[in-house]
């Protein structure tokens, strides 16, 4: 019933797009259908894991498989942002998995996240989703830095700097660019923005103070995981930009 009512909003947006010739009606339709199907699928899987847990089954194996699938899918999506870069999928999937899993492990070990599927799967979704966004911006930006500032990078190599030293400045710029939106969102928390997790908890009847604490933990997880993701992606991309002789590769 709720979905049917919300669909009215969707059709309004499509109508607006067609009226103004924005050319995004088809993408919106695909996004809506795909998103709906994916949310349906994750709900069914989550339900299965929760039942499995209640029956005392090895639900963790299923959760690990889901996390692996998240790493592959988010890695593929992020790699598509830099189609010219060789081995981009390997770089993005490893980096997103490293940042997200590390952030989730911190939550688990500190007790902020109970070892239960209804906590692990949604939080993993948030960690992977945000790390994917941060990874995409990092990769896109570092490729652009190489294209715009190739001369400056090569001038450093010409002075005898190694590839890590030559791309250090580009890495700092790319990491900052990728993290600034998340940090800005954190600065406006509660003033302009009441994010999904807190809003959901409050609507489900939780104490707003508890919900706020939980939201803050999630943001720290996103920032922490994001920094690890961005730095890993940029460090791993060094070999894609340079060969072993510290020469810039031809594709750049």
């Amino acid at each position: 019933m709720v979905l049917a009512m919300v669909s009215v909003l969707f059709f309004m947006v499509v109508a607006l797009s067609n009226w103004k010739n924005l050319g995004i009606g088809k993408d919106l339709g695909q996004g809506f259908v795909m998103g709906g199907l994916q949310l349906g699928l994750i709900s069914v899987l989550l339900l299965a894991l929760m039942e499995w847990e209640q029956e005392g089954g090895l639900w963790i194996g299923g959760a690990v498989l889901m996390v692996l699938a998240m790493a592959v899918i988010s890695g593929r999506r992020s790699a598509k942002r830099v189609p010219s870069m060789p081995q981009a999928f390997r770089i993005t999937s490893i980096s997103i998995a490293a940042g997200s899993v590390l952030a989730l492990m911190v939550l688990l070990l500190t007790g902020a996240m109970p070892l239960r599927p209804e906590f692990i799967i949604p939080l993993a979704g948030m960690a992977f989703g945000n790390s994917m966004d941060i990874c995409s911006v990092s990769m896109e930006r570092i490729v652009r830095e190489f294209q715009l500032n190739r001369g400056s990078i090569e001038a450093k190599l010409a002075l005898g700097a190694d590839s890590s030293q030559a791309m250090e400045e580009a890495m700092v710029i790319s990491t900052r660019a990728a993290l600034i939106p998340t940090i800005d969102r954190m600065k406006t928390l509660g003033i302009i923005l009441i994010p999904g997790a807190m809003a959901g908890l409050v609507m489900a009847g939780a104490d707003p103070l508890v919900a706020a604490q939980f939201q803050l933990v999630i943001f720290l997880m996103v920032v922490g995981g994001g920094i690890v993701t961005s730095m890993s992606a940029l460090a791993l991309s060094r070999r894609a930009f340079f060969n072993e002789q510290h020469q810039i590769r031809d594709w750049v």
């Binding site: 001369g151 400056s152 090569e154 450093k156 002075l159 005898g160 190694d162 400045e169 002789q245 020469q247």
Partner: protein, 226 residues
């Protein structure tokens, strides 16, 4: 006379196009050698190969008798420093640009003043924004930035393109001075034959990726020019 570089049948292709064709030549140590030729004759590519910013597809390049492919490229680049045609300034002041090299290798001497003076620029330039310097000033800062490495070889790619006549003269005298006083070998890429005759001891004439001839300055025939 010993050679700083010996090239043996060196060829290089870029993007499916042959840039250098079976190039064989010796570049003498302690001298200024100009590589002259029209645009696209392979001069800049050759210079980039001499400090291994790129490698030859075929043939052999010897640096002081050793195959460059067997030399650590980073060590080679510190000895044979390339000053690119577009002298990119790193963000920050002139001081920070010179300190970049000093800090990169943790060199003991942290006095950028002496390097700026060595290229004939006043100390007052140290705190200027490097991005706002003129073309000639940029070239001189790029040279000053390489001096802490005490390069044995300077590879200069069209160092006076876009530089006003007064600064052209300053740059030419500066590099000649480094060669005469410090014994620095200089390989100077230019399309200006008159400049090659002014600054260098030897002139190599490149055309279409081939070496058309290499002579001492006094033996140069204008008919040999491209």
């Amino acid at each position: 006379m010993s050679s700083v570089y010996s090239l043996q049948n060196v060829s290089k292709c870029l993007g499916g196009k042959t840039i250098l064709r079976s190039l064989t030549m010796d570049i003498p140590e302690g001298k200024i050698t100009s590589l002259v030729g029209p645009s696209g004759s392979g001069k800049s590519t050759l210079l980039r190969m001499l400090n291994r910013l790129t490698d030859a597809d075929e043939g052999k390049i010897l640096y002081r008798g050793r195959d460059v492919s067997e030399i650590d490229p980073l060590a080679l680049r510190r000895e044979a420093v390339l000053i690119p045609q577009d002298s990119y300034m790193f963000p920050g002041t002139v001081r920070e640009n010179i300190l970049y090299t000093i800090r990169l290798f943790s060199l003991p001497d942290e006095s950028p003043e002496r390097y700026l003076e060595a290229v004939g620029m006043p100390i007052s330039f140290l705190d200027r924004d490097a991005g706002k310097l003129s073309g000639g000033e940029r070239k001189r800062v790029a040279i000053a930035r390489s001096l802490p490495l005490r390069p044995r070889v300077l590879l200069m790619d069209e160092p006076t393109v876009g530089v006003d006549p007064r600064n052209v003269s300053i740059l030419e005298k500066l590099v000649q001075g480094m060669n005469e006083d410090g014994g620095t070998t200089v390989i100077w890429v230019t399309h200006d034959v008159e400049q090659a005759l002014r600054v260098s001891h030897n002139i190599a004439n490149l055309k279409g990726g081939r070496l058309m001839g290499m002579t001492q300055r006094d033996d140069f025939q204008w008919g040999e020019a491209f």
